[in-house]
Amino acid sequence: MTSKKNGSPYTPILIHPLEQENKLSIQKTGAYDALAKLLGSIRLKAVTKSHMTLTGYPVTAKTETRLYTVYRQVLRRLQCEQECDLFVDFGYELTAKSFGSAKDGHLIVVNSACLEELNDQQLAALLGHEIGHILADHIQNRELLDSLDLLVNGIPFASDIVKKMIWSYFSRWIIFSEYTADRAARIASGSLDAVVSLLRRQAGANFDGLSNQDLLKQSVPPVPETPGIFFVLLSQSLPAFGAVSRIQELTAWVRSEEFRRQFPVSQ
């Protein structure tokens, strides 16, 4: 799948307004374009793919029939024309991650625990979420962050200060980009319940005595205006970062007039 703007006809309506606001301010700088161009020339997809052939295995109709079937269904639901490479890697967390760039394409890596613990609908939500990141061009920002991290590691004494500045700059965008990807997960899985149950499992909140209503009622303060590096480090250390606020945001969207207008017959 190339990350062209029209990778899916849904892309424009998936972008969360808060992400739009914050993304634009990030991408206004000239340095961003230059770095993104440089990044595109590194062939990140190829690098990750060669690594994945060492540690994981490629998903095809033969190697992992269930996951592949779900994946094809997700692509159909999101009306994506091209598929990107899919791999499974060993991992305990119920997560997947996307890599690559707009220039040479993307690949998605799914943790092995997902195959054991998630049902088809939850797998569809998981893959839909990752494809949402690709469609909304998030991967470029993420790869940019990771690459800058690597680059500044070489600066003696100042690397952490520089990192702090870079990560702080992106901090608010990080949570808002998850809201966008969750919208794609909803379209890809065909139900709000699938995404909510996936997020609940990822956050360890899937047991008796805790209802969806409890999560919707949970008070979450607004995202801090200047969350900074501390927020980013915390977000990286929590496997289901923002799960509760994401459930609340997605539920509000699915119940909104805007959603009903876009999807008169729920799909």
């Binding site: 690397s159 949570i175 409890d214 008070s219 303060p221 995202v223 915390l234």
Partner: protein, 256 residues
């Protein structure tokens, strides 16, 4: 109440840590950059808060009353393969209970761990946990590597010692000595193995504890080296410390 069960090494190391100028700087940073609020936001946005009528909440509340906490800490659950209940935050303490414990532990064990974490907050362990987390993540910003390592070593020693205090609190909260001993190994050994263990003055694990302490010099040396690198408690040491504490309270007239 604290003095009744806080392990002396826990207290001594806590005092030493707070005496460090580097730690004082870290505390100032928490207030200057509102890190406590950001911590609270991130947890409340990411983890489900347990309802008040959930057994884990009830036991935490029982522990809060038992150990004299002014306010009920916020209680969250998370996905984890580790069975440890943890606390963090500075002014606003947060407790995180792993889903494996909620799903697998029997009521008595869950109750003991939830009550013990209330005691941990009473001893303000969450504050040092939070400071250690900051130190580990921001050590690159401290221009003196040796000073950072020295303070980290202190923190790691403290991490082990605070566990002794929590084990003591578990025993006092439940009044169940075999359960308190079992608690040390619970989540560390597969349940199928643990179910064959006995817990008493001469229980299944005691032979291993004796073997461990029969090489005292090697243990001391390894402890010193180990402290520089990591903070996990050694099970035989926790076991031995709890047995000592139990003997001391028996001498004083037994568990209340």
């Amino acid at each position: 109440m604290q003095g009744d069960f806080r392990h002396p090494t826990d207290q001594a190391l806590t005092d030493k840590i707070y005496g460090s100028p580097l730690v004082q700087k870290g505390i100032n940073k928490i207030f200057e950059e509102h890190l406590d609020q950001i911590n609270e936001y991130t947890y409340s946005a990411s983890y489900a808060r347990l309802p008040k009528d959930h057994p884990a909440s009830k036991y935490l509340e029982e522990g809060a009353r038992r150990f004299g906490l002014d306010n009920m800490p916020l209680l969250y659950c998370c996905r984890s393969y580790l069975y440890d209940v943890t606390c963090s935050g500075y002014q606003t303490p947060l407790v995180v209970v792993p889903d494996v414990l909620i799903k697998n532990a029997d009521e008595a064990l869950l109750r003991g761990r939830m009550m013990a974490i209330a005691a941990s907050i009473r001893m303000e362990h969450h504050k040092l946990n939070f400071l250690l987390w900051l130190l580990e993540n921001f050590q690159g910003l401290i221009p003196i590597p040796f000073a950072t390592q020295a303070i980290k070593t202190l923190f790691y020693e403290w991490m082990r010692a605070q566990q002794y205090s929590v084990d003591r609190a578990f025993l006092l909260a439940t009044g169940d000595y075999p359960l308190a001993l079992k608690n040390i190994l619970y989540g560390e050994l597969p349940n199928g193995v643990l179910s064959h263990f006995t817990f008493s003055e001469e229980g299944t694990f005691d032979k291993q504890v004796k073997d461990f302490y029969s090489h005292q010099n090697a243990v001391d040396l390894a402890s010193s080296v180990y402290s520089v690198l990591q903070c996990e408690s050694w099970l035989p040491q926790r076991y031995q410390e709890l047995k000592r504490f139990h003997r001391s309270i028996i001498k004083k007239g037994g568990l209340m």
